[in-house]
């Protein structure tokens, strides 16, 4: 392929990347150095290290961790069983299907289910249990987040399970390993790359959730994502919003490095 042809083929996407990826990130970085009055300053970054924002960061990381961890806890055995069933394609489709439905729609559906007069409370009342506040709790926030993110955890782990030669499990059993040893010493290390990919796919978006925190957690959980939204839309402090966004980007870079799949020949 000639150089000209290569560049001609690449040009449309290159243009896209420049206009919608590189320039916006540069603009955010640029904005993070200006205060409300439009003065060039490093104040925003100093402010980020104040207790308010550090606590917010901690909360964001903590919830993202919880969401990722619970997703993994549910997804790993699911992927394992899935790779061993007869009707893989159908079950896989059922797992992916919810991700085709609009996110907002699903979130509203959960408001209906968890609400004071929702499905869960209606069911509880059958047993004479008074209505509980389920919506606007940590539980509902994490539950809904896990529900939304779990396909992205299951899929890479499932793929890793499928890629693993089935004979290895028999080989381990043949060498006297118990089922638990097989999982610990063969299946887990060989699917670790899938787990890492899944962690990336769930942890990174979880860090900057804002819609679910608002609708499901009722703003009780204030994450960095919520803060960015507030700064840009309510307080109009674009500089601070941009600063948080930059810090989030840096956090994601760190996560990517940490959870990077180890290359294997």
């Amino acid at each position: 392929m000639t150089r000209t042809l290569k560049w001609t083929l690449l040009a449309p996407y290159m243009l896209w990347i420049v206009v919608f990826v590189i320039i916006p990130i540069a603009l955010i970085a640029w904005n993070s150095f200006f205060d409300l009055e439009g003065r060039l300053t490093l104040d925003n970054f100093v402010r980020f290290f104040s207790p308010t924002y550090l606590k917010m960061s901690f909360i964001s990381i903590w919830y993202a961790f919880l969401i990722t961890f619970i997703s993994l806890l549910v997804a790993y055995p699911t992927a394992y069983v899935l790779s061993r069933t007869r009707h893989k394609q159908l079950l896989l489709l059922l797992i992916i299907l919810p991700s085709w439905v609009n996110l907002l729609l699903k979130t509203y559906a959960f408001m209906g289910i968890f609400g004071m007069y929702g499905l869960v409370n209606a069911f509880l009342s059958l047993f004479g249990i008074p209505a509980q506040e389920i919506l606007f709790t940590d539980f509902s926030f994490i539950f809904v987040s896990v529900y939304i993110f779990i396909p992205f955890m299951i899929l890479p782990i499932y793929n890793a399970m499928e890629e693993m030669p089935r004979g290895l499990i028999e080989a381990a059993l043949d060498l006297g390993a118990s089922q638990w040893t097989v999982i610990r010493r063969v299946i887990w290390p060989l699917t670790l790359d899938g787990v890492k990919t899944g962690i990336q796919a769930v942890f990174i978006p979880s860090l900057s959730l804002f819609m679910i925190t608002r609708l499901i957690a009722g703003n009780r959980v204030i994450t960095l994502g919520t803060a960015i939204e507030q700064h840009f839309l309510v307080t109009q402090d674009w500089g601070m919003g941009a600063t948080i966004a930059i810090v989030l980007v840096l956090m994601m870079v760190v996560t990517m490095r940490f959870a990077q799949a180890t290359p294997r020949a």
């Binding site: 028999e170 080989a171 381990a172 059993l173």
Partner: protein
């Protein structure tokens, strides 16, 4: 002789779902310290037998004994057998040392013991110095050795080998045949080797089981099976054969190709229709007037060690001849052979009937070749 067989199958049937059974009422015994080969075409059930011994699958019916103990319900990880898998099934995330150490670590042996035994096993398969190599850095033949070391380090009483040489090239395969045979002698344990390669089976085994369609067609030493195949399938599968229809006029007298010949087989009815087997290398090329049979050469191939000729006799039977002498296509040649070279197969005879008849009438193979 009264020793308990290391493995005994009693009327074992294996059926997956509603398919035709892959094994049909198979019974056999394996003695301690011998090299056994399960030989047959793909789908004959040979690998199923291996997997039943390993414990990866359970028989649908019948009993499997190990050292006289019923092991139908003993899981794979509790059996005193180890397997060398067809694709080696080495753990890609572990190095050579850790692959071999796997079984020992499962048994929680002390570190020093693990080290000693792994190094010894690697020395056994000539892989000293490869301890820290990654699996993907090893060649096919080396992986093969790692797989063998990983199995024998556990000191199994039976080593199962599932077509372990099929992925290797011809030269390496022949080398490994010698090595495996040698290894079995040195270890003195029972080997059960699965293959579809008859040459491999003949070269390595103490005893061969020829399987077809979920049944054992014949079992015996390589010589027995080669020289006295029980039926058309075995004769065809083990080496190349001329199989022509004939009639036993009386014991030790057979007629085929329009002529009558003396032979060494007995125990037949008068004028019983039979199948006659003569191996292509037993046919000697002679001038037409000196031949017991005369054939017209139809094709000629140079095979390296010999010429392969196909001729046709007056009755239209095809004769495959292996000879270092060469004939021209279209030429009429004579074929000479000894009465011992003729092997008679009774139609539809079972292995027990066959053995009984051979014992009563047969000149044993060794006598014939003495």
């Amino acid at each position: 002789m009264a020793e308990v067989p290391i493995i005994r199958f009693e009327n074992v049937t294996k059926q997956f779902d509603d398919d035709e059974p892959i094994l049909k009422h198979v019974s056999f015994e394996l003695e301690r310290g011998k090299f056994y080969t399960l030989l047959g075409p793909s789908g004959c059930g040979k690998t199923t037998i291996l997997r039943l011994i390993a414990g990866f699958i359970q028989p649908t019916s019948g009993r499997i004994y190990f050292n006289g103990r019923l092991i139908n319900d003993v899981p794979a990880n509790k059996r005193q057998v180890n397997t060398v898998f067809q694709d080696y099934a080495l753990f890609p995330h572990l190095d050579v040392f850790e692959n071999v150490a796997f079984g020992l670590r499962v048994k929680k042996l002390p570190e020093a013991r693990v080290r000693d035994k792994v190094l010894e096993a690697l020395r056994f398969v000539n892989l000293q110095g490869f301890e820290r190599r990654k699996i993907h850095e090893m060649s096919g033949g080396q992986k093969q050795r790692v797989a063998i070391a990983r199995a024998i380090v556990n000191e199994p009483e039976v080593l199962l080998l599932d077509e372990p040489l099929s992925a290797l090239d011809l030269k390496l395969r022949t080398e490994m045949q010698y090595e495996l045979r040698e290894l079995q002698r040195r270890l003195g344990i029972t080997f059960v080797f699965v293959t579809h390669d008859q040459e491999e089976a003949l070269a390595m085994s103490d005893e061969i089981f020829v399987l077809n369609n979920g049944r054992i067609e014949q079992s015996g030493t390589p010589r027995d099976i080669y020289d006295e195949p029980i039926n058309r399938f075995v004769a065809d599968f083990i080496g190349e054969s001329n199989i022509v229809p004939g009639v036993m006029l009386e014991d030790y007298l057979v007629s085929f190709g329009g002529k009558t010949f003396r032979c060494v087989d007995g125990g037949f009815h008068r004028n019983e229709p039979v199948e006659v087997v003569i191996r292509p290398e037993d046919l000697e090329l002679v001038p037409p007037d000196r031949g017991l049979l005369t054939v017209t050469v139809e094709s000629l191939l140079f095979r390296g060690v010999h010429y392969e000729m196909i001729g046709r006799d007056e009755e239209g039977n095809r004769w495959l001849v292996h000879s270092t002498k060469k004939a021209q296509v279209g030429e009429t040649i004579g074929l000479d052979f000894e009465p011992e070279d003729i092997h008679i197969m009774r139609l539809g005879e079972s292995e027990e009937e066959f053995d009984r008849r051979i014992e009563a009438y047969g000149v044993s193979t060794d006598d014939a070749n003495a």
